[in-house]
């Protein structure tokens, strides 16, 4: 059985809310999107002065959170895989 067929079968057999989501072990990094969106929705519901601006503020804050996390990830990647190997061993 191929890996994709195994993923398909585990997804079809999934019991939502009782069982952990099946594809999360592979695509876990995508969960930063609902995390950022949920935090932004909650935070902007109490911090936005004019609620007509709430959707736009939520979108902007979500973009900021995801952007900063991606930036930190890229920075750490460059530090560990590019900068640190250039340093002398001793």
């Amino acid at each position: 059985m191929t890996q994709s067929a195994a993923h398909l079968m585990s997804t079809l057999a999934w019991t939502p809310f009782l069982q952990p989501a099946p594809l999360v072990q592979v695509w876990w990094w995508l969960l930063v999107l609902p995390m950022a969106l949920g935090v932004a929705m909650s935070y902007k519901s109490i911090r936005t002065h004019d609620l007509a601006r709430w959707p736009r503020d939520v979108a902007w804050m979500t973009t900021q959170i995801v952007g900063v996390i991606v930036g930190i990830a890229v920075g750490l990647y460059l530090l560990v895989l590019v900068v640190l190997p250039l340093l002398p061993a001793e």
Binding site: W28, G38, I46, D50
Partner: protein, 177 residues
């Protein structure tokens, strides 16, 4: 003599209590309905995302007690999720129980086959935890925000519309006379 220019904010414990009972309820009861619905949407989105990703096992007040302290900020729904975890997963009602791998000499551990592990459990726990923390912020806001304060906010297009409506009404009333 009281100072009428004082900006001291009144603390309303009832608003905080209602906000803990259900996310956003403190705002809704105080007349800030739209703000309450938005807060409810955000907190419930985080909570349900967490339970969807990690399963109900990610809310566990006995095994993950420190995480549950934050998750309890969501209110009774966190306790209900933990109760469902106990009654469905840990009892073996929802799925068969299996013996978990354990170091030699350690006591046997029996767990549900629906038990969350690795990324699913970590992210599920984190999302529900964040829902609890964000709801605590919402609760504090509900406790200090003036009732019906959203109606008097005077900025942006909505306030201009609000100012324009009475004028339009007065014209139509005048026209009817």
């Amino acid at each position: 003599m009281p100072d009428s220019s004082s900006t001291e904010t009144a603390f309303r414990p009832l608003g905080a209590l209602l906000g803990w009972i259900f996310p956003g309820l403190g705002h809704i009861v105080a007349g800030n309905t739209r703000r309450g619905v938005y807060a409810m949407t955000g907190v419930l989105f985080l909570f349900l995302s967490g339970v969807l990703v990690g399963g109900v096992d990610c809310v566990d007040r006995t095994e993950d007690r420190l995480w549950f302290v934050g998750q309890a900020g969501c209110g009774p729904i966190a306790f209900v999720a933990s109760f469902v975890n106990d009654s469905q997963l840990k009892s073996g009602s929802a799925a068969p129980m299996i013996e978990m791998a354990a170091p030699p000499g350690a006591p046997k551990v029996i767990a549900s086959t629906f038990k969350g592990v690795a990324h699913a459990n970590e992210f599920g726990t984190l999302l529900v935890f964040l829902a609890g923390l964000m709801n605590i912020c919402v609760i504090l806001d509900a406790a200090v925000r003036e009732p019906k304060s959203d109606e008097v906010i005077g900025s942006g297009r909505r306030s201009e519309d609000a100012r324009a409506k009475p004028a339009a009404n007065s014209i139509s009333v005048g026209g009817a006379q």
